[in-house]
Amino acid sequence: MESNKKYWKGLEEYKNTPDFVEINKNEFAEPLPIEDVLNEAGLSTVTPRRDFLKALGFGLGAVTLAACQTAPVHKSIPYLIRPEEVVPGIPNYYVSSFNGQSIIVKTREGRPIKIEPNLNAGPFNRGTDALTQASVLDLYDVSKLRDPILSKNEKASWAEIDAFVKSELTKSQSSGKKIRIVSSSISSPSTLAVVADFIAAYPATQLVQYDAVSYTGIIKANENSFGKAVVPKYNFDKADLVVSFAADFLGTWISGEEFTSQYVSNRDHKSLQNGKMSRHFQFEAGMSLTGTNADTRVPVKLSEEGPALITLYNAITGANLAGGALPNNVTADKALKLVAKELIQNKGKSLVICGSNDVSTQILVNAINSAIGSYGNTIDLDNPYKRYTGNDAQFSELINEMNRGEVAAVFFLDSNPGYDVANTKSFTDGLAKVNLKVSFSDRKDETSTLCNVIAINHNYLESWGDASAYEGSYSIIQPTINPVFNSRQAEESLLIWSNGPVKEYYQYVRNNWEATVLPALGKVWKDVLQTGVFITAPKPAGTYTFSLSLAAVIPSIVANSKALAKDIELQVYESVPMRDGKHANNAFMQELPDPVSKVTWDNYIAIAPKFAEKLGYKEFDIVSIKDDKGYTIELPVLIQPGQAQGTASVALGYGRTMVGKAGNNVGKNAFPFVSFTNGTYKYATTVKLESTGKREELAQTQTHHSFEGRNIIREATFTEYKKNPAAGSGNEHGKHKSYDLWDKYEKPGNNWVMAIDLNACTGCGSCIVACNVENNIPVVGKDEVRRRREMHWIRIDRYYSFNVDGAEKHVEEGHGEHSNGINAVTKENDIAHLENLDNVSVVHQPMLCQHCDHAPCETVCPVLATVHSSDGLNHMAYNRCVGTRYCANNCPYKVRRFNWFNYWNDSRFDNYLNNEFTQLVLNPDVTTRSRGVMEKCSMCIQRIQAGKLKAKIEKRPLKDGDIKMACQQACSANAIIFGDGNDPNSEVSKALRSERIYYVLEEINVQPGIGYMTKIRNTDTTVQA
């Protein structure tokens, strides 16, 4: 039986508002003014019909004449001295690192154009996150400074700067005042060595590390509990049960990309075939990416997080700590008791994590993990993460020191406290009292404008360096392009200012490696330049037992929770696209839809539907948000199903004022809502909301394409799957016999097909950015997204559906026959459950051109611009397209995109590609489409052709895995499998033979080339409540 569970993309679709129905009648968002032009009144409008025809005639003539000009003269300028390794037309690949992750940089003719994962770097380095993919655009950012700045001198020379800084440093040193280097966490051993050398030269110096979004809570808690001040290494691959309290570990928490890979390895099609699937509970206030992937997600208020953890601790250990009561959240209370039993059952194979930055809370989490035997199994304190080593208290103290006038010199390395510090005013006041202020920023940003020296740093793609993401892992950063501007690497500047013997940073890094890492491994420098990463054998993960008393921490947790239980509880969080705002000028990231809300180019205040109704706000109403300190911002409301009642969420990273053309004044800054209490920064506060009477439509991509209630998402529970692997796929009772009116396409050679595992896909969106970069997909900007003109070839559709009373069901019915927590809400009785809009489950479905064998777009194209190929692809010839848009009309999947403008060369889209410098990021193997043509996913045909050619030249058959799609390559979850369907042994053929495979809109018999595997939810409990 096919499921008739109801899915909906947005609330307007769910409620079927009249506006939504009206809009969906038309294929395109904006009605064409044809009737206005053609009726009688049309003659008297601003552009009457006759004038229009005159203009048309003139235009036609003018265009014809213009086309008669002789061909332009093209110049070819070869290298004067060609670098040995560069052959124009052939890409070179170099290993490097970004944010501690080992990557491969693809360069063409000496310019980096694409980032790919380095598969040598361990089993869980399978993909890259969206930010890594987009980072290549940062290199070609026109908002960067071209020369260093010394006070008012905008074109200072490095010699002038060196002389000035050195003399000031000597003065500072002799004055007896303090010198401070402020940096975000440094995970590079060489950078740390450089800083140490600097401190040796100027002993008054201290390194202050802080992160805009801090993990100090975890570090301090581990120091307190186990004497190890580290962020431990979490092994999600070893966890059969994951319980997360507001930690967005698949998105932004610590190392989302690696965790995704680990987490999915217990849930993807391979794991399911082995009959194994982990279970995941998420307790959180705002709907996070991780929450959408949870098997069971329970909304809890921010003020309930502490009590919830106490409840869980009590239930596991049988202790009776005070404060463990959730009087207003019965669902959570029951769910927690169930979770406790399951945790005990899965001792040593489970993991409890918490996103809080509160030391007390994290100590309690440590106690829970110790009780369930996580240490040495799922948590490894002996091979810790090194990417986050910030110390909030130290940074907070620095601001005090500056205000007291004790600091003579301060250096800002990869940090921008002018923007992301909680108390901006006290920071800027303090900074004004500092004599020498040096920023290593590459642009005039919120901090560097307050400094007297901007010693512009290289982009990471121009730099030498190294990184150690976790204990025992060392990766190299090597330059892939000569510095474009007159910049100098920050480390080199520090070396020069500290008068060390080695002034060249390349030599310094090399010396450092040759002295430390390489001899231990028996390798030489050249090896590391090739492999990019060395991982030493991990130390054995010790088991740690929590043996302290919780008496001290519980009152603090309870007090925190009480402080939050008033007004409206506001959570500020890192969103997947914007993170902490460092890359706010990256247009790819600005246009990447938030994985949950699908909003681009803005932040917003997310409020639950019922709560918004109670407050009297409608979607897109602008409200003013005011906290106790008096900080006020105005943001539009977003109605977010699943948000805990009484809470609101606002994303950090927006509201930059000095970052560049694309990112300036996008959204509002939420960092001032962060507060500093008990030695750490807290990302929860209470606010009052006030209506402003204004409205602003957010640029969402979510409701842009309606699927008219068709059965395109198919899912089953893990129990159902174990009974029948085809459960929920619509094929569990055998396939219908189908008949064809059309001839079959012959595919004698290859048959390029794809399988997408809905259970692996987390919806993170890195495939979208990878596709953007690979295929030169333009960014269109906020206004155009509002007009539904986003150009993404692959989108991730997010569907909501209901749970019947969610977790309650588990508890009440136990492990009975029908105990799946997602008991389908059918169309017939869904109205009755409107009350429970909090309790939604989510499915992410990547949607791209399905390369149908009987493609509806092909039959309607009047100029044969889109035709079928003999290897199963649906080709799109841009130069043939005349832009009738019939194909988009006729596409059942709504994956075709129309170029309304010359986005890459039009002054109205001046945030991005409209300059020769940024255009260097374009992939030269893919045509940039001009105005008036249709485009869509080409299945990375340039990669297919290149892979085939390589095999042809080498005279060998094409192997499975030779050709990878950009989206597939970026996917950490291996959710996208691509290959030759004619090869029965290829990965994709195996995947497509899975019982879980179904085709979207199979019933219309367009015969898509992309199969989807059903979503499986592990919602059935194995314990008796």
Partner: protein, 431 residues
């Protein structure tokens, strides 16, 4: 125009050669040494030495002037033996850097003397030119003779007309002498005849038809050739001659166009490739001992000073060649695909001779092009015709094994063309 001026030049040159050769035969004995020496110099010495300027080795002419011939002979044959024997002059000379000179034990005394004679005498300008021109006149003959024939035909027609007139005059004179009255043809005024013609509907119809056909076909051809640039021959910043390099000197295409067999681009060579030869090949003999102005452009681009043999990075200025073969951006073309994978098929389809490089299939006889021009139309029709007709050589390429096995058409014994394997599908070139 270019051809005519060439012909004139060659005619003049051959006349000059004739004169020079006859003079030379008189003083043959002395000149023979120099000519022989020049030949030996080119064979053995010129890769390191030049006459007037230092290159890898020192300039020969000034050095040899004050040098004992016996010493020079010993030095050339085995300078190391001299150094080992403790010859002071040799030890001093051996300090010259950058490279050690090889030994030439095979050269006879006479040969070395000839070389020295040549080096002392300097470039025998006239003789050199004579040699150069005798080499070229042979292939110039054919064009010359054709032009001659045309001239003779024109001349004879002219003579015939004059003769005809003369005959007519003579006839008249004879008739007048015989007393025959000559009635001149009544000349109809031109305008009247035209009017008569205009009234002739058939004639008018014919003319109109002719006009329509000629204008129509002119327009038709014009439209078909819009955007087709066959024969496009822009003038380049350096007068680089493919005829000289690829034709006369037989340099392989890949020596300069290294990308063609690896990449989508055949690549225009970078200037360091030019310098491999032109560091010493300076064509001074053609320019009164000066370096050829075209070769100087290479030096200028690189900031190279031939006197000091040093490069000055600050004077670097890349050469902006004018692109001859332009494909639109939306068409993907890959050289390696065609010249490596498709080489056999293309050779067969285009009927290339075994000694011709596969490049000639589309680029034409590059070895005869003084300046490069676009040989093929580079239109889509032209691409497709070849993709339809060329028979792929799939034997020995394991890539095709499975595809061929699965392909019905091929089982039926039909020709395997790129089109049969999907080579005409839009997305194969347009993406």
């Amino acid at each position: 125009m270019r051809n005519i001026s060439l012909i004139v030049k060659r005619v003049l040159k051959s006349a000059f050669v004739f004169a020079v050769l006859s003079v030379l035969t008189i003083s043959a004995t002395r000149a023979q040494d120099v000519v022989e020496g020049r030949k030996l110099f080119k064979e053995n010495c010129s890769s390191c030495h030049q006459l007037e300027s230092n290159s890898i080795g020192p300039a020969l002419t000034p050095m040899l002037k004050g040098l004992d011939e016996a010493f020079a002979i010993k030095w050339i044959r085995n300078w190391k033996a001299l150094v080992d024997a403790g010859d002071k002059q040799a030890i001093e000379a051996s300090k010259y850097s950058p490279a050690e000179m090889p030994f030439f034990p095979r050269l006879t005394d006479g040969q070395i003397k000839n070389i020295i004679a040549y080096a002392k005498a300097g470039e025998p300008k006239k003789a050199a030119e004579a040699v150069a021109t005798t080499e070229t006149t042979s292939d110039g003959a054919s064009t010359f003779s054709i032009a001659g024939i045309v001239a003779i035909i024109l001349l004879s027609i002219f003579v015939l007309i004059i003769l005809g007139r003369a005959v007519k005059m003579l006839e008249r004179l004879i008739l007048q002498k015989q007393g025959v009255v000559i009635v001149d043809d009544v000349r109809v005024p031109f305008g009247a005849g035209f009017k008569v013609l205009l009234k002739n509907k058939r004639f008018v119809g014919f003319v109109v038809l002719l006009l329509v056909i000629s204008l129509g076909s002119f327009g038709w051809m014009g439209m078909w050739n819009t955007g087709v640039h066959t024969g496009y021959q822009p003038s380049q910043p350096i007068k680089f001659s493919h005829e000289l390099h690829a034709g006369t000197n037989q340099i392989d295409c890949q020596y300069c166009h290294q990308g063609a067999f690896k990449s989508k681009n055949s690549t225009i060579p970078s200037m360091n490739v030019c310098m491999n030869c032109h560091k010493s090949v300076q064509a001074t003999e053609k320019y009164d001992g000066q370096i050829s102005p075209e070769i100087q452009k290479i030096y200028a681009a690189l900031g190279y000073n031939p006197e000091t043999q040093t490069y000055d990075k600050s004077k670097e200025k890349p050469v902006e060649w004018v692109r001859v073969h332009n494909l639109p951006d939306f068409a993907y073309f890959n050289h390696s695909q065609h010249v490596v994978v498709g080489e056999a098929a293309i050779r067969k389809e285009k009927g290339l001779k075994p000694n011709e490089p596969v490049c000639f299939a589309c680029h034409g006889p590059v070895n005869t092009m003084e300046e490069i021009y676009q040989y093929s139309p580079l239109t889509m029709k032209w691409c497709i015709n070849c993709h339809r007709n060329a028979e792929l050589d799939v034997k020995g390429n394991a890539f095709y094994d499975k595809i061929i096995e699965a392909h019905d058409k091929i089982k039926k014994g039909e020709k395997i063309t790129p089109a049969a394997l999907g080579g005409l599908e839009c997305g194969k070139c347009h993406y």
